[in-house]
């Protein structure tokens, strides 16, 4: 067996196993950390596919930036565990059957996808045979040249997308001021009766913080 094949199976098993652990954990912090492990496996797969630039930005942007954002929110909300839902009004059996239906649907999805790929493989494969593989395009110079010439418009639109997302996130996460006078002194304001205050534990002391 070729070393590429062995590496593919090891990294693919890492990605699949870590992804399964992401959706299997009770604690969201553990889910985020397992997702970083899954991204590491995918990054190795990108290197196997002769795309080192994608592998590097996978680590820098995904594992470094987006996952840190998730970790911030998980720790900000202090949601260490999932709600069991037993004190809800609806019966638990409805929830169980809904979960079974969802698991059945995703099982059907994986069967369909793999069946489609395998049936395409009997016709010579989706990508044809490996013997006629074209030379790899892996230099950052080529990627940058294509990005700033052929895809320049999409690149600029992407910057507008990021700007809109940033403004939208600020607007959404901003606390609504009930009175204009109170909006000015948000620092020393006591929690109003309509807005539940969140308890954020910082070390030993328990600071009541309104955000």
């Amino acid at each position: 067996m070729l070393p590429d094949q062995i590496l593919f199976y090891v990294l693919g098993a890492l990605a699949v196993g870590a992804s399964l652990l992401v959706i299997g954990q009770k604690n969201p912090i553990h889910s985020v950390l397992w997702l970083i492990a899954s991204f590491a496996g995918l990054s190795g797969l990108y290197i196997l596919l002769d795309a080192p630039f994608v592998a590097v930005i996978q680590i820098i942007i995904y594992a470094g930036a987006i996952m840190v954002l998730f970790l911030f929110v998980v720790m900000l909300l202090n949601a260490g565990h999932e709600d069991t839902g037993e004190d809800e009004a609806r019966p638990v059996s409805v929830h169980r059957s809904a979960i079974r239906f969802g698991a059945l649907l995703s099982g059907v999805l994986v069967v369909e996808l793999v069946w489609a790929l395998v049936s395409a493989g009997t016709l010579g494969g989706v990508f044809g045979s490996t013997a006629t593989l074209p030379p790899a395009v892996s230099s950052v110079r080529t990627i940058g040249r294509a990005l700033f010439t052929d895809y320049a418009f999409a690149f600029e639109v992407t910057s507008i997308l990021i700007l809109v997302a940033m403004v939208g996130a600020v607007v959404l996460a901003r606390r609504e001021a009930t009175h204009p006078a109170q909006a000015t002194d948000t620092g020393a304001r006591l929690p109003g009766p309509a807005e539940p205050a969140l308890r954020v534990e910082v070390g030993d002391e328990q600071a009541e913080r309104v955000f």
């Binding site: 593919f8 693919g12 699949v16 992804s19 992401v22 959706i23 954990q25 969201p28 889910s31 997702l35 991204f39 995918l42 797969l45 596919l49 795309a51 630039f53 994608v54 996978q58 942007i61 995904y62 930036a65 987006i66 954002l69 998730f70 929110v73 999932e82 839902g85 929830h95 979960i99 239906f101 969802g102 698991a103 649907l105 995703s106 999805l109 996808l113 793999v114 790929l117 395998v118 395409a120 494969g125 989706v126 990508f127 490996t130 593989l133 074209p134 790899a136 395009v137 990627i143 294509a146 895809y151 997308l161 939208g168 996130a169 600020v170 959404l172 807005e195 539940p196 969140l198 955000f211």
Partner: protein, 98 residues
Amino acid sequence: MLNQYLILSAVLFSIGTLGVFVRRNLITILLSIEIMLNAVNLTFVAAGRAYGAVDGQIIVFFVMTVAAAEAAVGLAIVIALFRHRASLDPDAFTSLKW
């Protein structure tokens, strides 16, 4: 050899779908969406490698940007919802107005 990347990507996408269906935590659902986006990224890179084109890797760049924007807006919505209900269960947010 590149076809097995597609099968791996299909399995990863289904794992993400499973997470969206069965989990009852908004943050875990967002993480499952990230798994699905990464499965699609793997498909793009494999296709770009198969055709010897640079476009696959560039599309991955755009998908990552969209994922970052989606995570920022989604987490802001999660924070705003948590402020109202003090819960992360999506079943707690069944009414549009309260």
